[in-house]
């Protein structure tokens, strides 16, 4: 234990520190529990969306394969490159238990098939359609996945803090308080006995009890 001055001032200081630490501990614990509750429901949703997106993406990839098989690569790419489709995202943040999670709001311009139908196959149309249906889910997935990632980090951090307070700071402060109050009590007792002794000696000086007792 580091050297502590066993003074009353130190004692009050430690007592204040203990109160603060306890309050912080309680708050952080509540934060952790709140985050955890939020996180668990969110991560389930995350998994659901991810599974859905992955399945849909795989089938859409397959559709593009089919499209490629009926058209030449150049034709497919030319058709898709020329697409006037544009998508813009507005990013905003929502605050969940002090974690800033992203919220995306997207807008698409020019909907529909931007390529001429003369040189493209029906398979391509299907593939493109399957993909444009997927955009909404994909953006949602990004949003929720980032949220889960950030929250899991925050939970870990909060848990560390809670543990540090609970297992290190609070017991240490308590021990210090105990040490100081013991020391102070001890000092008090020793000065008490000293005073009693001095008083005895002074009385002895004045009245000579011993000599009288001995006759």
């Amino acid at each position: 234990m580091a050297t502590i001055n066993p003074t009353r001032m130190e004692l009050t200081r430690f007592k204040k520190k203990l109160v603060t630490a306890r309050r912080g501990h309680k708050l952080l614990k509540d934060k952790r529990d709140g985050l955890m509750r939020e996180f668990l429901s969110m991560v389930r949703e995350n998994m659901k969306i991810r599974k859905r997106v992955e399945a849909a993406l795989n089938s859409s990839n397959q559709k593009f394969m089919f499209a490629r098989s009926t058209m030449s690569e150049q034709e497919v790419k030319a058709a898709l490159m020329a697409s006037g489709e544009e998508i813009t995202v507005e990013a905003d943040y929502a605050n969940i238990m002090s974690v800033d999670i992203p919220k995306f709001d997207y807008k698409t311009a020019a909907h529909g098939y931007s390529y001429g139908f003369a040189f493209t196959s029906g398979e391509l149309d299907e593939a493109v359609e399957s993909l444009s249906d997927l955009v909404d889910d994909m953006i949602k997935l990004s949003e929720i996945e980032e949220a889960c990632r950030l929250m899991s980090k925050e939970i870990e951090k909060t848990r560390r803090r809670v543990n540090a307070l609970e297992h290190v700071l609070i017991p240490q402060t308590e021990a210090n308080i105990k040490y100081i109050s013991m020391k102070l009590d001890e000092n008090e007792r020793s000065s008490q006995t000293r005073l009693m002794k001095v008083k005895d000696m002074m009385l002895e000086e004045a009245h000579h009890y011993k000599e009288r007792a001995n006759g």
Partner: protein
């Protein structure tokens, strides 16, 4: 106003041009890393095929700004399943062990 980008092998990503995403074909993992670093601040969301995602994990962990959000998506080949693994990892970090999804698959 931000846009959305897709990075990965060109076979997996060229279709996204049709929905208005900007596509950045990358042949190798390090190529993908360069591309992503280049376009880092221009996009809100960058989708990366799973085969290229591995090379980026370090960059993503270092990321301090909230944007861009980088999300792995399955491509046509060399899928590593890192998307699902990431979700599980998040649970592991938060809870201590994966109690939700477990080893169900």
């Amino acid at each position: 106003m931000y846009k959305i980008a897709v990075v990965g092998d060109s076979d997996s990503i060229y279709g996204f041009a049709s929905v208005g995403f900007d596509t950045y074909p990358a042949r190798t993992e390090s190529d993908a890393l360069h591309k992503v670093k280049e376009i880092w601040s221009d996009y809100a969301i960058i989708y990366v095929t799973e085969s290229c995602y591995e090379a980026l994990t370090e960059e993503i962990d270092k990321k301090l700004t909230p944007l861009p959000v980088i999300t792995p998506i399955p491509g046509v080949k060399n899928n590593t399943g890192i998307g699902v693994a990431n979700v599980k990892k998040a649970v592991e970090v938060a809870v201590g062990s994966d109690i939700i999804f477990g080893n169900k698959e």
